[in-house]
Symmetry: C2
Subunit: 495 residues, 2 copies
């Protein structure tokens, strides 16, 4: 097990008439003795640097590199012993938010985690708008702002940890197929249309300078492979984080974010389904959603006569916002009180002071907000998000299970990734059918599975083979064109 | 046996919902089926190009690349079938003259050969002057003008053959160790001093854009390895051209140019010696030397009483200049007539109208020149060149033969390369001791052996392993510091 960037300090004996091999040849000899890779690949700019550094230090240098098959791809040469300063950056390119995690590859510790809105949002909140803009000549712009966002995060993470970005020797990037294309500088606009075919799935190892990153210019950059237009490297990375491909027993991975993505499998086989659940989930679960933490509303009832709510919040703070179970209670109570029909539309004929237009959208106000806080409310869009996601997840899970003939009860673990997984607790999600009905102890929340997989590869480069193998061998079903999908989706779209 | 650049025309089926692999992944699959290399390496700029070209041509493309171990390094992707347009450029970087040869890799034909003065000459006629300039901050300048010279020649060769430089997919470069360093952008100035250690001997495969060549930007560039400061890739290339490392019997390779370089060996072992014979040979054999062709003076006698010469020239043209045998005759006659002492100095006390200052150097004028031609003359510098070269060659050959205990008579072939080899015929060279005394039929003139080896590698990439193996395993003796050298050299420096 070796980290994605390896560093070796070597001392090259000073050349003499009897040992008159060239400086860099002697260095190469010393490095191949120290690593398992029989071959070394130097970019020319580092050869020029090596020539000077070797002479200036009388041969006392540290060489950083990354092993690709049988070759050490050199990423840096530094004077003296810097072998303990070896840093990697995991990057998760979400359509909405980009997140980075700075790892000390010597200790395995996370030194900093930062996230910010994907700079592309300025050119379209949802992916389809950006793909349309890319198709109109905006592709380079979108590549530029995405790389700017990543570099800004790299800079923030490094500054907070007190290291220089040039000390980052390895970068792992997980993102959906379109984001991977934008990151590389490829125009993904054609993927909007059938047969939704990407330009590239398996991406060769890059160097940071190729994609304008502010890390060490020759830092190795690994981008997780995609499988199809709707099945990106973020899901492969999530699979790596879950360990699903290492388990004897069969597990299910559910990633609920912009798209619905699910993997069912074990170390022998894997089958996946992915597709768009509509653009509704872009902005998150619901405007007033929050984690299940002190102050979050977790139980709601609505009086069917007065339409006035009562609620209880997790103790400790002033009640504001709702966690997943609060959201589900609220939707169920709106329906039971007659304020919501079974398709998810407000019944505005029922008069109540709780109806209010907020941000130009009709809302049901749950709390007025205390101490200057904004109200807690729910919109039809929030409800539609929940119903659509539920329907898509039910359809995806049903199709996957039917396709391989596994019984639901035989699924040993359900790994959940994506923003829904964080905001909704397992009990609530199981109740409304978002998660399959299985004992609570089988559920494992990965949080940002995509970022976790990117970190896992930084710490153990051998998992790259696993990621590539998953992408090569997984059976991938396109959700949106699957014959069963619309039937199941429609019947599951109601409350 | 495959050429250094290989091209494959493929037709990639149009993607569909059932065959929804990414475009470039499908292309990679088709290419690995067509080549022996299981892996493919794409530079990012060509991935971007491939994405467009594949769509524009509905998957009908030609991919050019070069196989390095188990990997096809892609150098170009072109629309349609261009597999028959596959060109390579052999480059010999001499200190004095740079030569190129444009090869059609499909037919093996030479399409053009051009040579011109190395642009570095402006900054110093001889190598030591240039190394001094490089040590004073002139290294980048010398790299720039050298690359300019090469690009000028590439342009001339391509223009004359009616192809675009961007169609050149492979470049092989042979030059002495300093020239290889300059070509890469490395400063070779430190090699002036003991222990004469280069920065690099084995040079990784480059791409044309790394070294600013005007060929296809990603054309593969192979630079022959050096063995030491005075033993460069030009000699390794010459060894490849001679086939010395493939022979059962033992052969000798003599390269007489700026430096004295000699290899003795066979397929089992090789031993080499190289070193500076002084800066005298920079400008060529002699100012008025020419090939043994019509008009060249080949026999000279000088009247010991009047000091007037008589001569005969090869029939066909007005006599002008001398070939090798004429040069040797002339030197011998000057000595016998008393106009030259045994150390190679003119005896100017002897009065003759033949003494004349030409280009600020005292000369003996052999012919006045007819039809407006310049005179044919010889200077002390020319004579010193010949004597020094002779002495160095005798020393080198003697040391080599003594070091391995081979009898002179057992040397099956003597390959001669470099300008002396072209200008001096075997009989004359053997007479004055420049070449070892062996039957004439054992001598093989390679001409520009360095360029010939560069061409050989373009046509058969497998010979790269042979070149690298020679450089790795050859026993190399540094001529200038060898204990026997000065004794043999001094005793051989007289007429």
């Amino acid at each position: 097990m070796s980290t994605l960037s390896v560093k070796h300090y070597v001392e090259i004996p000073v050349g003499s008439l009897d040992n008159n091999k060239a400086d860099i040849d002697r260095l190469n000899h010393a490095i191949t003795e120290a690593t398992s890779a029989p071959h070394i690949e130097w970019p020319l700019d580092l050869i020029l640097e090596a020539a000077s550094v070797l002479r200036e230090t009388s041969g006392k240098v540290t060489v950083a590199g990354s092993i690709v098959r049988d070759t050490l791809m050199v990423s840096s040469i530094e004077p003296g012993d810097t072998s303990q300063r070896n840093f990697g950056m995991a990057v998760d390119i979400g359509t909405t938010v980009v997140a980075v995690e700075l790892i000390d590859l010597t200790t395995g510790a996370t030194l900093a985690t930062f996230g910010e809105v994907n700079g592309q949002a300025e050119y379209g909140e949802d992916l389809l708008t950006r793909l349309h803009f890319a198709g109109q000549g905006g592709s380079e712009t979108l590549t530029g702002v995405l790389r700017d966002t990543i570099n800004d995060l790299v800079n923030k993470a490094c500054t907070s940890a007190g290291i220089s970005p040039s000390e980052v020797m390895a970068v792992t990037v997980a993102g959906n197929t379109s984001m991977a294309h934008f990151f590389l500088g490829l125009n993904p606009a054609v993927m909007r249309f059938e047969p939704y075919i990407p330009s590239i799935n398996h991406i060769p190892r890059l160097r940071a300078k190729d994609v304008s990153l502010i890390t060490a210019p020759n830092a190795t950059v690994y981008v997780f492979p995609s499988v199809g237009g709707y099945f990106g490297g973020d899901l492969i990375s999530g699979a790596i984080a879950s360990g699903i491909s290492e388990n004897e027993g069969t597990s299910l991975l559910l990633d609920i974010g912009t798209n619905v993505e699910a993997i069912l499998g074990n170390k022998e086989w894997m089958v996946a389904i992915a597709g768009s659940a509509g653009p509704a989930l872009e902005a998150g679960v619901a405007e007033c959603a929050r984690r299940a933490e002190p102050g979050a509303i977790e139980r709601v009832t609505i009086d069917p006569a007065t339409f006035e709510p009562t609620y209880s919040a997790i103790a400790g703070e002033t009640a504001y916002g709702f966690c997943g179970s609060g959201l589900i209670d609220l939707v169920a109570q709106l329906y039971l009180s007659g304020l919501l029909d079974s398709t998810g539309r407000f019944v505005l004929e029922k008069e109540t002071a709780r109806w209010r237009e907020i941000n130009a959208r009709m809302s049901y106000v749950l709390t007025e907000g205390a101490n200057g806080q904004t109200p807690t409310y729910i919109t039809e869009k929030d409800i539609h998000n929940l119903l659509t996601t539920k329907a898509a997840m039910i359809a995806a899970t049903t199709i996957l299970i039917n396709s391989v003939g596994v019984a639901l009860k035989d699924i040993e673990h359900v790994y959940t990734a994506g923003s829904f997984g964080i905001h909704i607790d397992v009990d609530s999600a199981t109740t409304i059918g978002l998660y399959p009905k299985l004992p609570k102890e089988r559920f494992v929340t990965l949080g940002n599975g995509s970022l976790a997989g990117a970190r896992a590869v930084l710490l153990n480069a051998e998992r790259i083979s696993e990621a590539e193998h998953i992408a090569d061998t997984i059976t991938y079903l396109e959700l949106n064109v699957h014959p069963e999908f619309m039937d199941i989706f429609r019947s599951a779209s109601y409350i």
